[in-house]
Symmetry: C2
Subunit: 150 residues, 2 copies
Amino acid sequence: MGSEVDEAFTELQRRHVRMTPQRRTILTYLVTHHNHPTVETIHEALDQQTPNMSLATIYNTLKLFVDLGIVIELANGEDGVHYDYYNKPHYHAICTNCGRIADVFYPDFPKVAQQLEKEAADQTGYQITGNHIEVYGLCPQCQKKLNSKS
Amino acid sequence: MGSEVDEAFTELQRRHVRMTPQRRTILTYLVTHHNHPTVETIHEALDQQTPNMSLATIYNTLKLFVDLGIVIELANGEDGVHYDYYNKPHYHAICTNCGRIADVFYPDFPKVAQQLEKEAADQTGYQITGNHIEVYGLCPQCQKKLNSKS
DNA sequence: TGCCTAAGTTAGAATCATTTTAAATCGATT
DNA sequence: AATCGATTTAAAATGATTCTAACTTAGGCA
Ligand SMILES: [Mn+2]
Ligand SMILES: [Mn+2]
Ligand SMILES: [Zn+2]
Ligand SMILES: [Zn+2]
């Protein structure tokens, strides 16, 4: 059970990443919550089960996961940095009014992303290793809210 | 001669944006420099010709231009936020080692971006108004630097 | 199994990019 | 030219992230 969590742990062991209770807890949270939490969201959520976890540890751990490539950062959006356990390729729609983030799973996305990466590599000589692709606009809730104001 | 700078000013007048010397100066800098400056870069560059321009004014003005849609923010990249006067559609390659930013002009880019926007709108109900598309990796200089270390 | 040590965690302090403030100044409309 | 809301400014405040230094621990090894 919780196989996705187990898979994630196994992957870290395979990569000789030292396992700590804090890392377990944070990774479990990320794998089981497909919201796109900020550091503060994670801190508050974990405060229930693991009081006294330092913010510094959350920052350190997220940076580690990002460097390992299993987590991505969403740095745009109105409010702070959001994090996402990234197993299936997808991109994001971000609300310019409230910051709400929605996943977009598009079968052709990997193809499209590779196309953009290849073109960039050919044109600039960069050795491309990844991408940040997001679209933004008004989420359905904010559309309603703003429409009823006129 | 309707230089690019004049066109930019005309566009602002058309939109009834109040014109100030500071806004003129900053817009002129952005239009004539195709580097991707940070607030600090702009502040230092303008300090020569316009001492005493407040950092707050630069922040305010850039936010205005971004809201007007004539300037885009590059929020990823290792070091702070970069700005770009965005006339011709293009995307960016960002070096994960030194932060250097390169333009990528790809004829199919508008088509590809629209495809991603349409799919996101259909799937999420968001009213999409724009996108942030970047790829990242090692710039040529950093490739050399890091190769010669092994 | 029980050390040992490099690596990780912690609370609190420090940093520093950005925002806020309140007073002075200015642009543009009449 | 007068008017007034918008803009600018320097300085202070904010707040997210990073740093520090002491403490603790995971995991390899005897
Ligand atoms: Mn996601
Ligand atoms: Mn550019
Ligand atoms: Zn919204
Ligand atoms: Zn580089």
